[in-house]
Symmetry: C2
Subunit: 194 residues, 2 copies
C-alpha cells in the first residue's frame, strides 16, 4: 500500500467521505458497506474515493482512526498504573463497545485475509500506539515505578494482547473489573515472591 | 450451534471428509475452499457433509482440531517455565507456522463475522485449553513455583494474549526468542522490585 494512501487526507471532501463511511458502516455493518453506497451518500463519484483509498477496508480504517485518534494518547498524572488504566479504558470504550465494536471486529477479521489492511492497521494505529506506550513506560521506569529491567519492546503485546484476546477470541466483555485485575496481575508477575 | 454439531464424529466417513477438507484447504486456501469441492474429493454427497457440519468454517475448525488436539497437552516435568515454554512452542509450531498458519488466521478472521464459528472455537479449543492451563498452573502454584496469589482465571489471556496479538495484529514472527523473553517478562512482572 502506498504511504500516500495510508496518510490522512485533510481536505473537506475527504472528511465528507469519511463521515459517510462511518454513518453507513453503522447502519449496514461492515460486510454490506460498499464504495458505491459511500459515494452516493457523500455525493461524489466512485473514482474520487478510489483515488484516495484502495479498498473499502482501507477507507473504513481511515474513517475510524481519523475521527478518534487523539483519545488514545496516554495521560501523564505521574501514576503509571492509573495512566495505563485510563488509556486502556479509553481504547476499550472507543473500539470494543457500541457503536464501533462490531465494525472494529470486522476490520480485524478483514486484516486476516488482506495483507494491505493488516499493514495499514499497523502503520496507522498499532505502531504509533506502541511508540506512545514505550515512551510513557520509559518515563515511568526512570521514575522507579516499573521494574528497572522491563523489556519495553514487549510491553505493547503484554498490555494489549490480553485485551485483544478477550475481544477477538473469547468474545467476553471487557469489564472495568477485568482490566483492573489484569493490570494488577501483570504488575505483580506470575513468578513466586522472592 | 448444536452441541452435536460441535462434537467430533468418529466414523470413517467423517474422517475421510476431514482429511479432504485439510488437503483442499492447503491447496486452495480458506477463501476458495467449498463444501462442493470437499464432497467431490471425499466421494460423498454435499448433504452428508451438511448433516455433520453446518458450514465450511465449522468443518474446517473440526478438521484442524481433530487432527492435532493431543499435541496441545501440557507436559509436566515439574518445571513450570519449561513446561509452559514447551506447550506454547507446540501450539505455535502447529497453528502459527506453515502449513496451517494462513488457514488458522483465516479461521480466526471468519470467527469475527460468524458467531457460530466463534462459539465453536471457544467450545472446542479455547475453553479446554484454558482448563488445562489452569490445572497445570494450579499444580505449579501449590508447588511454590508461582505467585501464591496468581489470578488463575486471567492466566490464559495473560499467556496466550501476547501470542495472538503478535500472530493476528502485528503479524510479526513468533520466534523462540520472543517466547522466551515474553515468559521472562510475565514471570518477573511489570512492577518495581520490592
Amino acid at each position: 500500500m502506498d504511504a500516500d494512501r495510508v496518510n490522512t487526507h485533510t481536505d473537506a471532501r475527504s472528511e465528507t467521505i469519511r463521515s459517510a463511511t462511518l454513518e453507513l458502516a453503522q447502519e449496514l455493518g461492515f460486510a454490506k458497506l460498499s464504495i458505491e453506497a459511500v459515494a452516493a451518500r457523500a455525493g461524489v463519484g466512485k473514482h474520487t474515493i478510489y483515488r484516495r483509498w484502495p479498498s473499502k477496508g482501507a477507507l473504513f480504517l481511515d474513517a475510524v482512526l481519523s475521527s478518534h485518534e487523539t483519545i488514545l494518547e496516554y495521560p501523564d498524572t505521574g501514576d503509571i498504573v492509573a495512566d495505563l488504566r485510563e488509556q486502556i479504558l479509553a481504547a476499550v470504550e472507543l473500539l470494543a463497545r457500541p457503536p464501533l465494536d462490531g465494525l472494529f471486529r470486522s476490520l480485524l477479521g478483514e486484516a486476516q485475509q488482506d495483507a494491505a489492511i493488516s499493514a495499514a492497521l499497523n502503520e496507522r494505529f498499532i505502531a504509533p500506539q506502541t511508540q506512545r506506550t514505550i515512551d510513557r513506560l520509559e518515563k515511568a521506569r526512570d521514575a522507579g515505578q516499573l521494574s528497572p529491567d522491563l523489556d519495553l519492546e514487549l510491553a505493547m503485546s503484554i498490555l494489549s494482547g490480553p485485551i485483544y484476546f478477550q475481544f477477538l477470541i473469547t468474545a467476553q466483555p471487557l469489564t472495568h473489573d477485568y482490566i483492573d485485575r489484569l493490570l494488577a496481575a501483570l504488575f505483580a508477575g506470575l513468578g513466586p515472591r522472592p
